[in-house]
Amino acid sequence: MPNKLIDIKNISKSFDDNLVLDDLNLYIRENEFLTLLGPSGCGKTTLLRILGGFEKPDQGRILFQGKDITDLAPNKRQLNTVFQKYALFTHMTIAENIAFGLKIKKKSKSYIQDKIRYALKLVNLDGFENRYPDSLSGGQQQRIAIARAIVNEPKVLLLDEPLGALDLKLRQDMQYELIRLKNELGITFIYVTHDQEEALTMSDTIVVMNQGYIQQIGTPEDIYNEPQNAFVADFIGESNILPAIMVQDKLVQILGTNFPCVDTGFGKNEPVDAVIRPEDIDLVKPEDGIMEGVVTHLIFKGVHYEMEVTAHNFEWLVHSTDMFPVGTKVGIKVDPFDIQIMKKPESEDEEAAAADE
């Protein structure tokens, strides 16, 4: 397991009376693509700005390779930031933009020239040296912002919603581009976004945040398949979140009907929340299902049909490539391993999550 590169210890931060981060602990390993994911106002950008040195935490320390950098100015830190709206220097050419950090460090002319060429090649914008930022498209400006940061050979690249201003197609292309860049550079990326799809696509580790608390840390698969609470389940993709009772190990009662599942270790008859992803629900003939319902809504989404099935007074969201017209009686079937059981919220963190819904 690679070493801890950054250790975030007990960080708290509030603006005026507004508590943005509350006693937050997190570590980031070397060469990791870590994404801070959450809705706006969850504290993810503030955490990034604290890492970059643009905000001081009220409490807590930031350790970088074991050294305390909490009070270090931004220009003394071995990390670089790619800002949300690129923040290019509009009065300088692309080459001057990229050379900015290197000139400050008094690197030689030939070194700077080599670096500019290398960086432009890396972001697929060779030949743009003498253009001005205003003459570039949003996607190109974003790549220049990345090039400008990486020529300084930072150990960590901080990215603050870098794709937020781009259109969908470009955003998807840039996601692959960023993964490729990260693999070529072999450095740590800390990425902030509110877009769950972006997070799932690119990250090694996702940190889901809400209201200043970490809700869950895990790989994209963990976060998607085994959300630890209703907030995470709801925020990452669409889902059916149902109140349920754990009858016994591997058997859960949802809306009065028993479903076999794979979860164990809950108390007998313990109230829980069950999460079922819309694509995990199989619609079958009424007599073959565990529960019977009627299709009430049908929308064609391209890859699949989105349907709402009313069963036991609950609107089940179902994604399926098979189409069932509105009014059809159907049976609902769910494979045991597709039911994710979560404890009911009880800790303060999870209440914060619930309150946000």
């Binding site: 931004p74 220009n75 800002f83 709206k85 509009t90 009065h91």
Partner: protein, 271 residues
């Protein structure tokens, strides 16, 4: 579309009657003599030793007062930019407040303050301190120009500075620049359009003023504005007065072109 164009009507009427026609009248008077014949003599009147001296002094005093305004205004604008909204709007108000008082009255007030038996010297004598005798000298004129025109320097610079994206400044710091390097390489170049419009708005009225020099310079200091004023009012010589005005206008236009050209080369983002 045509209805839209009608909206420009009132201004069009205004500018034709009060800007364009008078301008052509100045050109006409400036290029003719009493008999209505074409002549360049009126323009050449600028070349007399007295007039050249007045023009030179005008240029010198305008450059000095523009420089002083810039040195005072830039740091102030920076402080204002870094302040929280509530506080800064109060200070901006403090700055604009004097502008609401008529400019003649303000200049007259300075005359009263600076006079040999004025408020300041009376107070100084009362305290047994040496008096300051700057009334009717170029110093008093510069003081008056700076006092009257300073807000015109502060506002455009403040405007430009407050529009600089904070992330751009953060980015410079992030890339290793300390705060001085950030100012020199990022903030100042990005603020140049504001500086240039500030310079224009202070330099031009300073160069052409005759009221400030009249009130604070007495009759002892003649600026080119006073020369033109006297030619019209005391000499009743519209032809020479218009000729001198034309030369001065050419001076101003030339210096503005120079400034604008520099701005483009400096890529001051003045688009």
């Amino acid at each position: 579309m045509n209805k839209r164009k009608l909206l420009a009507g009132p201004y069009l009427f205004w500018s034709v009657s009060f800007i364009i026609i008078p301008l052509f009248m100045v050109i006409y008077y400036g290029l003719t003599n009493d008999n209505g014949d074409f002549t360049l003599k009126n323009l050449a009147a600028m070349a007399t030793p007295e007039n050249l001296k007045a023009l030179g002094l005008s240029l010198l005093l305008s450059v000095i007062s523009t420089t002083v305004c810039l040195l005072l205004a830039y740091p102030l604008a920076m402080i204002l930019t870094n302040m929280k909204v509530g506080k800064s709007s109060f200070i901006v108000l403090m700055f604009i407040l004097p502008m609401w008082v008529n400019f003649l009255l303000r200049t007259l007030a300075w005359q009263n303050l600076l006079e040999n038996n004025g408020v300041i010297n009376t107070l100084l004598r009362f305290l047994n301190l040496p008096t300051i005798d700057i009334i009717n000298t170029p110093y008093a004129i510069v003081l008056g120009m700076v006092y009257d025109f300073l807000p015109f320097m502060v506002l455009p610079i403040y405007n430009v500075l407050s529009k600089i994206d904070q992330n751009v400044i953060s980015a410079a710091r992030d890339l290793g620049a300390n705060s001085f390097q950030t100012f020199l390489k990022i903030i100042f170049p990005l603020s140049l359009p504001g500086v240039i419009s500030g310079i224009t708005m202070v330099f031009v009225p300073s160069l052409t003023t005759f009221v400030i020099s009249d009130l604070l310079g007495g009759s002892k200091v003649l600026l080119i504005g006073n020369v033109i004023d006297q030619t019209f009012t005391q000499g009743s010589d519209w032809h020479t007065g218009s000729g001198l005005s034309l030369v001065l206008t050419i001076f101003i236009v030339a210096s503005m072109i120079l400034v604008a050209k520099y701005d483009k080369e400096g890529k001051g983002a003045a688009f």
